[in-house]
Subunit: 138 residues, 2 copies
DNA sequence: TATTGTTATACTCTATAACTATA
DNA sequence: TATAGTTATAGAGTATAACAATA
């Protein structure tokens, strides 16, 4: 079906990436989705849970479950928001950053395979086109 | 993180598509992944379960669970392979094809949104780049 | 009234390993 | 020995709705 070529390739690309990411992170006891949380926090720390939900394209329950696990392991901290009593500010800890660096290292083969058959210029194009898809789906 | 732009956009694009697909199919009691099974079978009927696993980028357990459900609803049939006693040939039923047509119809808004901000020529490029990613990840 | 987050619940998908029956 | 499929089990992610606290 012509109309489902992009959806099916999008699916295959994501699922393969997700599966290989989980496989490479298994020895750390971290899932691909937990890694996404850490990635977002490593880039912009001190955001509230709801913001994390948006950026991770996730939902409140899932993010909460992940944060509880990550907090138990001392990788993140959830602190009360100083001005909004409802919100919780999430921060990655120093230990979280250290482990995150190891995870990024362990994922090098996956990153390399992902764009192995795509030249630099095309990678930019791919990213831009995906960004437009995301924008349209919001 | 520069290296995670494509992965994160790939993730957001897939998850949004998947979520919206599930939402639009909910009233039929069919999941996005079950739809993928039907799509594959509607295109090339009479393949064995293992082949379905490969094409759906899935695993034996997941595919089996889906097929059992779809078979209970009379949408597919699993018959013994005439020459290989281990294998099962999966076929979509006439009722399966009818419902599949309705599902495709119900998903029109999702398909449209997906490429809403991408001209025809760019859609071809996107598909080709995704195909290369899939190829590299195998 | 609307929003942030939690709790409870149920279901789907995923991964592993052990098993059978066939090849 | 290897392969197709099943069974059992456990865990992770998802969706919904009801709720408390706060804005």
């Amino acid at each position: 079906m012509e109309a489902y070529k992009i959806p099916m390739n999008l699916r295959a690309a994501y699922l393969s990436m997700h599966r290989q990411t989980n496989a490479h992170l298994a020895r750390f006891g971290v899932t691909a989705d937990q890694f996404v949380c850490l990635l977002i926090l490593a880039e912009e720390d001190g955001i509230i849970q709801q913001e994390l939900v948006k950026r991770a394209t996730s939902d409140p329950n899932t993010i909460r479950a992940m944060l509880v696990l990550l907090e138990k392991r001392g990788l993140v901290v959830r602190a009360p928001h100083p001005r909004d009593g409802r919100a919780r500010i999430v921060t990655i800890t120093e230990e979280g950053r250290q482990i995150f660096a190891e995870l990024v290292s362990a994922l090098e083969p996956v990153r390399n395979r992902l764009t192995a058959q795509i030249p630099e210029a095309d990678a930019k194009t791919l990213n831009e086109l995906l960004r437009r898809v995301v924008e349209a789906m919001e």
